[in-house]
């Protein structure tokens, strides 16, 4: 029975992992960021009550996302169903600086370990300032 469950789990997880290319990988990371930002934003707006565990989980997710994200832009992944701007590949120094800042800010935010909404707001704001600064030059909206 346990064997069957293991096979089922593998069967479900493996094909997805095997077929996902860099575009899908990086889009999945950004979708995750969007979900976390909605969770955090709703808490800060007061739409949902503040919960320290969730808040710290969001910040940890951001840090993990920032670490993984730059690995999914190999040469050749600039075409296809992607909103990644050509500048990612044509201006590597600027791109590397932007992803390094994202990593630094998310690590610092996680280390703040906020216990109240005000402190979480500071950490959250530090991270989410990266959204627009990076999307300004490195994302081309197609929709």
């Amino acid at each position: 029975m346990r064997m069957l469950a293991a096979i089922l789990a593998t069967a479900i997880i493996l094909p997805a992992a095997a077929t996902a290319g860099p575009i899908e990988e990086r889009q999945a990371i950004m979708k995750g960021n969007g979900r976390d930002t909605k969770l955090g934003g709703d808490m800060l707006k007061g739409a949902t009550p503040f919960d320290a565990t969730t808040a710290n989980k969001i910040l940890a997710n951001y840090a993990a996302a920032a670490k993984a994200f730059p690995k999914h832009f190999p040469a050749g992944s600039n075409t296809g169903d992607t909103e990644a701007a050509p500048a990612i590949w044509s201006k590597p120094a600027e791109w590397n600086a932007a992803t390094a800042k994202f990593q630094k800010d998310t690590a610092a935010a996680m280390a703040m370990k906020p216990t109240n909404a005000a402190d979480f707001g500071k950490a959250f704001g530090m991270v989410t300032a990266n959204c627009k600064s990076c999307h300004e030059g490195f994302r081309i909206k197609k929709g």
Partner: protein, 297 residues
């Protein structure tokens, strides 16, 4: 034969005089000019609504550097490369300008020395601004730091490099009338939003398509367009496509986040930074107006 030649010459002369006349810069009549002195504090609101810093401050400038208006990044378009000039109060900028000269630049696209400006400077929108706001904006610009130096001129392709031709273009496209005909009972917020969007905000300069002569297509007002800088797309922000509530639009302009928490990107990042400087009431008015404009599919 001689009579024919004389006739031809006469025709060319008349044609030339007529062409010269129709392309002449048209300054504002004296009784329409903004009256000073304006109020610099009120002018700050117009400055941010008008997005002046986005083109006239250095590219990527942040914080107080956005108030140093020495001329910003070149605007690359299919008509040529336009260089925004220095509009700081220094001697390379607006020093010595009168309010009347500034008003003619803003609402008629005419320089103090009587030449046409290229409509990359969005005077086709600014033409709808109130004279009092022009005066306030002028006062505010005087209060900003002087910046030395004038950026090198842009590169404009023939025939667009003949400035006089812009006179003809203006006869087609320069009009200070409101674009959207609002119903008589439209709420004040919608009207306030109309002024901000159609006038100083100059949103349709990017959010509406242009015809082959570069005039904004009023039939597809705010209905989206190709990116003027040639990358991606500027979205349709009429109710035909944008499903956000007025409050969500206002919130996006304040925070840079969509209701789904996607973030602002591209050239809109600069615009949103400007809109974030406005009051909640002004952003709510913009949202109300965008919900009231005709839907473009």
């Amino acid at each position: 034969m001689r009579r024919l030649l004389a006739g031809l010459f006469g025709l060319i002369l008349v044609g030339g005089v007529a062409a010269w006349a129709v392309t002449a810069p048209q300054p504002l009549p004296d009784d329409a000019l903004a009256q000073g002195p304006g109020d610099a504090t009120r002018g700050a609101r117009i400055f941010w609504a008008g997005g002046c810093a986005s083109c006239h401050a250095a590219k990527g400038a942040k914080g107080d550097d956005r108030l140093k208006l020495g001329g910003g990044a070149v605007l690359t378009t299919e008509f040529g490369d336009f260089q925004p000039p220095n509009i700081s109060p220094g001697r390379d900028g607006l020093a010595g300008w009168t309010l009347a000269e500034f008003d003619n630049a803003m609402r008629r696209g005419v320089s103090p020395d009587g030449r046409h400006y290229y409509p990359a400077f969005p005077y086709t929108s600014y033409a709808r601004m109130r004279p009092a706001d022009i005066a306030d904006l002028f006062a505010y610009l005087q209060s900003l730091p002087a910046v030395a130096g004038q950026p090198a001129a842009g590169k404009i392709a023939f025939p667009f490099n003949i400035r006089r031709g812009i006179g003809l273009w203006k006869r087609l496209y320069l009009d200070d009338a409101p674009v959207v005909a609002l119903p008589a009972g439209a709420p004040q917020a919608v009207r306030d939003g109309q002024y901000l969007v159609e006038g100083p905000g100059h949103c349709s300069e990017c959010h509406a398509p242009r015809d082959k002569f570069g005039g904004v297509d009023h039939a597809r007002w705010l209905g989206g367009a190709p990116d003027p800088e040639g990358r991606g797309k500027v979205p349709n922000i009429t109710p035909g496509k944008l499903r956000w509530s007025a409050a969500e639009i206002a919130d996006y302009l304040k925070t840079g986040f969509t209701p789904e928490y996607d973030s602002v990107g591209g050239s809109m990042v600069e615009v949103q930074a400007n809109m974030a400087q406005l009051t909640d009431a002004d952003r709510a008015a913009i949202g109300a107006y965008l919900k009231a404009v005709p839907a473009v599919e």
